[in-house]
Amino acid sequence: MQLLIAFYYDGLSMQDMARRFGFSGTRSATVQKHKCLEKVRAEVKKMESYETSIS
């Protein structure tokens, strides 16, 4: 979540993200950011299907 906050709300560039989070370069930082978003989105989808199943 911290990585996503750093990108979307702290306005960090991919270069700054790579430095702060210890990625090898901007490409790695970009991929990791997308992976984080993917994981959170998957949890949101899980919650939605749980809510649908209990309603």
Partner: protein
């Protein structure tokens, strides 16, 4: 980058209004034709809402720490008391 991550990037551009007008129209047509993509867009919008709530809570927690530190400052506390006395 694997296709799922490319999709995440594309949906992000759409949600954050970073797509050109033509690309946006094409993407909206894809959303209408593809239920899975439509659900992915809805989920990603909710994800951004959650992220915003998380960030706002973090900011409020930081402000609370600053507020508590200020209340420890005698000059500030005296000034505050003077205003309300």
């Amino acid at each position: 980058m694997r296709p799922a991550l490319v999709e995440i990037e594309t949906i992000d551009k759409y949600i954050l209004h970073q797509m050109g007008a033509e690309d946006k129209l094409v993407f909206e047509a894809k959303i209408l034709l593809n239920e899975e993509l439509s659900r992915a867009v809805v989920a990603q919008r909710k994800t951004h809402k959650l992220l915003r709530l998380f960030w706002r809570k973090q900011q409020r927690d930081k402000l609370e720490i600053i507020y508590q530190q200020l209340l420890q400052e005698k000059t500030f506390l005296n000034g505050l008391k003077a205003i309300f006395s």
